[in-house]
Amino acid sequence: MEAFFQHLINGISLGSIYALIALGYTMVYGILQLINFAHSDVYMVGAFIGFYSARWLHVSDSPSYMNFFTVLIIAMVGCGILGFLIERLAYRPIRNAPKLNALITAIGVSLFLEYTGQIVFGPTPQVFPNILSDSIIFSTTSGGVRITRFDATILLTGVGLMIVLEYIIHKTKLGKAMRATSYNSQWASLMGIPVDTIISMTFVIGSALAAAGGILVGIKYPKIEPLMGIMIGLKAFIAAVLGGIGNLGGAVLGGIIMGVAEEFVVGYGAATYRDALAFGILIIILLFRPAGLLGHFSVEKV
């Protein structure tokens, strides 16, 4: 029974990371109908920016919340810039091209980041700096169920960022413009919304969230390497689809469900099919409810 609760806690912790990354995918897809394959690599770059900036600030071995937040902010800003550049240089020119071309460009950017990362950062896994220390903040008497400080930090940071995002999307003018653009970009531009700027902002915000994901993962799983984004990116994307792509709440819901499902399947069944599970979920969702759990299906007008 204890194992069940531990699995649940593990699943939610994992799921909140998927959710953070899924938000970036869903935002970009909502506005551009583009699967930004490079998103998972922006996440990777975020983790590495954290690595190098902690070194540069000489805080690699001084755990404290202050250092954690500093590194987090630096990484988010850095990746925001990276996301902006990617959109500007690689995606804007092909905005009106056929979908498959955009997909391939995205794949190209993803591969470019990965392999350049291998050359620049080296392929050997690096140890993420110790900028936050772990401790158990809750444990049952037998030690069967534990919640650690890391889990709590990840959940709270994740939730905090999501709340900020919600605020931006629903309570600011920028958010309104973003929603309008995702509904129909042509109408939005007719209304005087600078669509190009809005799209750039979407990428910046999405990338910043990915960077946050990278830092949080770096803290909890201190091994980082240039190819770390691939699997987690794919699963986060599936989480976004599961929840309803284009829908922010869906991304969060999807992320949590993915995390928990994966945890339970691996814990109680065939761990070897872990990756296949993710795709299995995807296929089932797309076959039976392609709009996702919280999404709505739009009818294609002739």
Binding site: F237, G280, L287, E300
Partner: protein
Amino acid sequence: MINVKRTLVFPGLVLLACWGVGLIFPDLFNAYFQTLVIYSCINIILAVSLNLVNGFTGQFSIGHAGFMAAGAYMSAWLTMTFPHWAGPFLGINFFFNTIAGGLLAAAAGYGVGLPSLRLKGDYLAIVTLGFGEIIRVVLLNIDAVGGARGMYGIPKTASFGWAAGWVFICILTVSRLVNSTHGRAFLSVREDEIAAESVGINTTQYKVRAFVISSFFAGVAGAIFAHFLCYLNPNSFNFMKSIDVVVMVVLGGMGSISGSVVAAIIITLLPEALRPLQEITKLDFRMVIYSLTLIVLMLTKPQGLFGKLEVSDIWKKYVRRSS
């Protein structure tokens, strides 16, 4: 109009050129060169078959490696378990095992295609990707075919003759198909699916047909691969392999068979051609260059090298111009 004979002229010329080069530079026509040629043939079959789905029928399939794996493992398993079931000659066995591999792949294509082809664009892409990965993970778990340790000791029955023969059959099939009423249907599905439905074309059925035929040839390519490398490992059939084939199709021009042929050869040879660069700089820039090529290609010439034309069309254009 795609003329069957004309479509085969170009690949035929390429094969002749290889043979000729082999005569002039005998040192060149060694095992290394042969390896490259056979891998080119395998990739040509993969690219042309994928083009049927992605190019001519306008669907997004990026899980081709899964079908290749199905064909590879099926044929290899048959060869290893029943070495002489079709007679004493290994070659004949190879031929039938290749077909068996192709059939299993086609069945997988049917299984994947039927439910998924209702989906559009990006969604279909991700689903096919997912199926490709599922097939790979399943193979990793089946101990009878080796799992992570792989299947080794497969007899090397795939020679240039067999590979070239299957290339011929593949191109012939696809070009004849495209040049028929079925081909018209495929093109109509690509151009405007709703309009096609409204004039009575069962788009789902045609999409599935394209998918099944395409998967068959992917399986065949896998069988040739298995009997040439003589060793199979599920990790050879991952997402990256599927992406390689998609790149070949897009580079060559979706809707152009000749384009797929040329692009397949280029993509096969590119990593080898870039080796001198690696030796000079001591760093491996190949994948970086590969990815940059993708991006630049999409930005500058998204219709690929040939667009929707075949070599015969370009030939006609030049001939007409000069006369």
